[in-house]
Amino acid sequence: MRRKLLCPWLAFQNLRNNRRDYLPFLGAASLIICLFFTVCNLSESRGFARSIPGSGTLHGLMSVATLLLPVVCAPFLWYINSFLMKRRKKELGLYGVLGLEQRHVGTVLFFETLYSFLFSLAAGLGAGILLTGLSGKLLLGLAGITADYTPSVTPVALLYTLGLFGVIFLGCLAGNLVHLSLAAPTDLLREDHSGERDPRFGVLGSILGLLLLGGGYAVAIWAYCEPMLALLVVPVFFLASLLAALGTYGVFIFGSIYVLKALRGNKDFYYRPQNFVTVSGMLHRMRKNGAGLANICLFSTMTLVTLCCTLTVAFGQGEVMTLVGTDYRAGAVSLDLAHIAPEELTVFFGTLAFLGIFFGAAFLLCTVLVMYYKQITEGHQDRDGFVVMRRVGMGVGMVRSTVRRQVTLVFSLPLLGALLHLCFAVPVLIRLFDILCVSSRTVLLGTGCAVLVFAGLYLGAYLTTAKAYYKIVVK
């Protein structure tokens, strides 16, 4: 093999050998690229601007969406990428031992990232371009526009997509290189036991977390009860979300350990086969990665809220259309229904529904994938443990029920958290939809349906992941 070709070749081999880990990542990246390109392309389509009444609204909403989508998706892709890197620590350490210089390992990582980028770009853009006509029809349909017009591929959208995801993948590469350079070869080879001790300031952290969470909830309730806040409902919503998100991290990272240690302290409870393995396993897991569950909880909440809004918009459109032309006003800052053109309103609602579907899909994908990677990673960590437990006399039946219990806990905790968050988000959403003159009854209906849809999808993801986990652990 020519020396110059060694690094590109190694990079290719690495991706091939780790394909079980990388394929879901590449799939998700492709899908996000596809979603982004589609939204961006429709928003930039010149033809749209001319052919549609109320296209100003459409263009405005779509532009905001093209700004927001990467804000969520970039950190998500970075997060998954760091997951993958951590799993490959040993492999990278081995390169060092085998005499490959860090410079060369860096080059290998560069090529890996390049291949990943090109692959997801090709798949995502390919799908996006193929589906241009379809997505255009969907948007037009939802926006109630009968114009006979098919959007085409705009070069600007292609450039934006290329640039944005180029930057995101550069971020991945930078993260990988930092990861590589920070760790000495011996560190990479050694098992990482840092962060397995109890976090410092545990009690303080738990209390702070609870306070922030309570604060977020209080702000949400306050926004519902105080009509004066109607003008500020959007910033207030963000404030409540921020507080609740920080609180979620506090509760998951610190509070969980506090509770688990209390359970461990109860000897009669702790020293029973099921509890013994589950409590200590959860404690170990939360010490190592308490933020993981918090992330899943927040992703779930985001998905739920997005679904909820999308469905409310879809359900509420008809209701609002009947009010057009009347002087109905739900609140101080509601739409002026007496003076709005019905077409414009349809475009507005349709575009919102369209974006909701796209955002919902993106968030859902993030949630499911983070959960999947978390379980797979933990499955590999737990496997040796289960081998030992089999040796010292744990029956297959007990392994099975322990695994089921563990997986169920990891799945249900974030879901319960997300549902609790949603309970407090709904009052704010009601005020938010006051602006659009959608009634609170419709918001509640949308919420109910969103919960059902999400729970169904979540359950599907749970079953698939639990199966993969069980396969890894029991083999």
């Binding site: 029973r272 013994f276 200590s280 437990m389 006399g393 297959v396």
Partner: protein
């Protein structure tokens, strides 16, 4: 009746591609209650295979293993793990303590799986930990202690069920010679108290602590040595091993 009887044991591994390795062929021996037996052989001679069969972690291709007159092959699968828990203790080379548990909880694991009440666990753990010199380490986690200390905890985990037979696979394989000596002291002390032990090893230092050494070569038992009081057993075991290499066994 011997505590452990092995008759005509055979194990053939079939690997993908149709290759077959006969890891054990016609292995027969017996272990009396209270004995300390070492099985010695080079790497790849079939020691781990043999031990896994004795531990009922694997099924033989032919032959039988009787523990206290009971044929391991006749125990139904769902009873097997309970049987293992009640009658056998294991110490492995990679000591296999779980990082999720403190040393104390690691040691208690088999008792918890056996659903013993907590009060009983405490009254077994403390004296045993005292004997093995790990009382101060019970609240530490595996990664916080040395290899020798981990291996002593693994020995405690094997002994706490009061097994009729203690099985050890290269227990000193990953230890420096001082920690190895300490662990072997513990084995000898337990043996003097009546614990039956079967240990496989490739180290002369470890094997010469046993009362009897069986030599395993290419999956067959080829020789047996018994220690006599007052003699230099180390020399004889070392000579026995050297003779194996020359093929004059």
């Amino acid at each position: 009746m011997s505590l452990l009887e092995v008759r005509g044991l055979e194990k053939v591994y079939s690997i993908r591609g149709g290759n077959r390795t006969a890891a054990l062929q016609g292995v027969s021996f017996a272990v009396e209650e209270g004995e300390f037996v070492a099985i010695m052989g080079e790497s790849g001679s079939g020691k781990s295979t043999l031990l896994n069969l004795l531990a009922s972690l694997d099924r033989p291709t032919a032959g039988e293993v009787l523990l206290a007159g009971k044929d391991l092959a006749k125990i139904p699968g769902r009873r097997l793990s309970a049987f293992r828990r009640d009658h056998l203790g294991f110490v492995f080379q990679d000591c296999s303590l779980l990082d999720t548990f403190s040393l104390g909880d690691n040691i208690l694991l088999p008792l918890v799986l056996a659903k013993l009440p907590f009060s009983e666990m405490g009254s077994r753990l403390l004296p045993l930990a005292e004997e093995l010199g790990i009382t101060k380490l019970l609240n530490k986690y595996p990664w916080e202690v040395s290899g020798g200390q981990k291996q002593r905890a693994a020995a405690a985990r094997a002994l706490i069920t009061r097994p009729s037979l203690l099985l050890a696979d290269e227990p000193t394989g990953a230890l420096d010679s001082r920690s190895a000596g300490e662990l072997l002291d513990i084995f000898q002390a337990e043996n003097r108290e009546g614990q039956t032990i079967v240990m496989v090893t490739h180290s002369v230092q470890a094997a010469c602590r046993a009362g009897r050494v069986l030599f395993l070569q290419d999956g067959q038992l080829v020789r047996e040595l018994r220690s006599h009081p007052g003699e230099d057993f180390y020399r004889r075991v070392a000579d026995g091993l050297a003779a194996l290499g020359k093929g004059v066994a």
